[in-house]
Symmetry: C2
Subunit: 405 residues, 2 copies
Amino acid sequence: MAENVLVVHGGGPTAVINASLYGVIEEARASGKIGCVYGAIGGSEAILKERFLDLMKYPREKLRLLLATPSTAIGSSRYALEADDYKAMVGIFQKHQIKYVLFNGGNGTMDTCGKVYEACKGAGIFVVGIPKTIDNDIAITDHTPGFASAARYMAETTAEVGMDVKGLPIHVCVMEAMGRNAGWITAASALARKKPGDAPHLIYLPERPFHEEEFLEDVKKLYEEKGGVVVVVSEGLKDEEGKPIVPPIFTSGRSVYYGDVSAYLANLVIRKLGVKARSEKPGICGRASVALQSPVDREEAVLAGREALRAAMGGQSGVMVGFIRDEAADSPYRMQIRMIPIKEVMLYERILPEEYINQRGNDVTEAFVKWCRPLIGERTWEYMDFQELYEQENNGANNREDVPE
Amino acid sequence: MAENVLVVHGGGPTAVINASLYGVIEEARASGKIGCVYGAIGGSEAILKERFLDLMKYPREKLRLLLATPSTAIGSSRYALEADDYKAMVGIFQKHQIKYVLFNGGNGTMDTCGKVYEACKGAGIFVVGIPKTIDNDIAITDHTPGFASAARYMAETTAEVGMDVKGLPIHVCVMEAMGRNAGWITAASALARKKPGDAPHLIYLPERPFHEEEFLEDVKKLYEEKGGVVVVVSEGLKDEEGKPIVPPIFTSGRSVYYGDVSAYLANLVIRKLGVKARSEKPGICGRASVALQSPVDREEAVLAGREALRAAMGGQSGVMVGFIRDEAADSPYRMQIRMIPIKEVMLYERILPEEYINQRGNDVTEAFVKWCRPLIGERTWEYMDFQELYEQENNGANNREDVPE
């Protein structure tokens, strides 16, 4: 009897989710024991509709394109499964001789994965989770494939925007980062800095209550000093009472739609400080960018796919691939794979710990930078900055006066 | 007596303005006749303050970093010069033995360049303009260095966002492009398409009055068909009366601050159609991106720098480097350099001509795509799209039902 694999994607895409898919196919091929690797075309819902495509039949050079294909090549969904759906799935898996089911996704998908695992118990079907989220909010694992690329995008883009604002220092630029409850991506903007004083000049995270007065104070001081200021903010900033600082625009059923934090804060700066401000909100451009994928992330995503199938073929079920970092002091970056029971993963949403946030709540700490640095890979960008060289030659004196627009 | 060169940057940065600076330095070196190539550190204002740095003294391998340095390495300004300033400049040029003055910028900078040229007449100082603007709104020249990189950014990013939205088709995504009066960058998003039906699904340009009812009608139809819709809009959309569709937030002196068109339209879709919508506004991330520079643009920017100095050294003054495209039918892309009198350049702001906009005003024409294609360089991105392959195998039948969120 053939042994087939099914891969299902859940939730929002990342820059490397397809790299994990590639890893699964490569592992299946290497094992010599797998008939088909089916992709569920359109997420969990596609299982019920039996929308399966065998991916093994495509030539390897085509499959390698998965490493540089943004979003999810097989489609995803946010379809909410019902209790009956889980039972129905078992029959569908058996009909298609699917022995290994791999769910790739974030917290919501791991919940589904755990329920499918329960339904498949005793049916000889092995269910394993592959973690994926740009938000990095999955518990226990050191980090999650997809995060490091979103982090590198934020770091490199902030460095570029920082140069832009420094080149024509006439405004306050408020950049918005994804991650409504967890500030990991926002924090990663700090990796744009090569030396103190570089952009980003301020970082505001959703883990700390946001105070408008303090924000305006910080911005004003920096604007007077530099003329051009780069502020990075999380899309999910909340006030002292835990309410989003931007009121909802519209509520429809369970869904609430908020306005953009970056635009809100740029407007605040304009109105309260009377200086030019603009907002940049790359949004999903950031999670879809192939050019700024982190090579480390891509490699780890492939590995996560391979290890998931290997674990399932080894008889494991109800587990998720986790990354455990080698914590030995000053050792080079090294990851180990550990299978984590899905039930443990579901315990909590992982937010930025206190030791990664500075006291005033307007920056990250050196400990965060040290943790994050290896994930985004080598710093590949080096700029020629004659403004800086000029200041150095002239004894560091900044004799450029602020130019009113 | 030494013959020195001064390069001045004006206005907002582009991804390749430093490539033109590199071209000037390379040409100066090759000529064997130039003492120093000074950079004015901080735009026109820096001339008056004599903030000059000799760039020739840096090793060539360092200078090559200019090709991949975003923003302007010597700084820019929007300082408004007074009549007296032009006279003062002549003395400053003479004091520093500056015989060749090159202004790199857009329409505003070319105006300055023309005035400096008038002031320098008879003083043996030669003044030449290097065009630069992401907006592509400079007259006469076929296009402007800086535009093609902004265009490639918009095309490639729209393709990536298109894959993202297709992978999880649950919302309308409104992307905003820079260019308040001229729709060139917005239009360039069309180059994201590999085949009909690909994102962007709708394009709205500032050259045509924007009608909210038509927009909502177009979006509704596409949303019902696809579930995920990508709309690209110019930041400067105006209504039938020429008024910006987003009212000003704040006015301060000559400056008027508008809210974001993308956020405004996403809100409109949510409120009027009751479907999920979000806005993406990469903004200056787009003009600062080194990873998505167009190789053609970079090469032409270097050339523009070299040709500007060559023209000045050849005794030309009061001219700007222009690109004239070889128009022979079906010939491969080929550009010729022509020096354009600065006075002619100042005649008008170049907007997208009628033949590049479709009748309904919600897309560009094939003629635009044909014009723009060679500028962004080879299409380097190829995606593995199993959703598409699945649909093809299943007779093109789209049996995926819309999933309410």
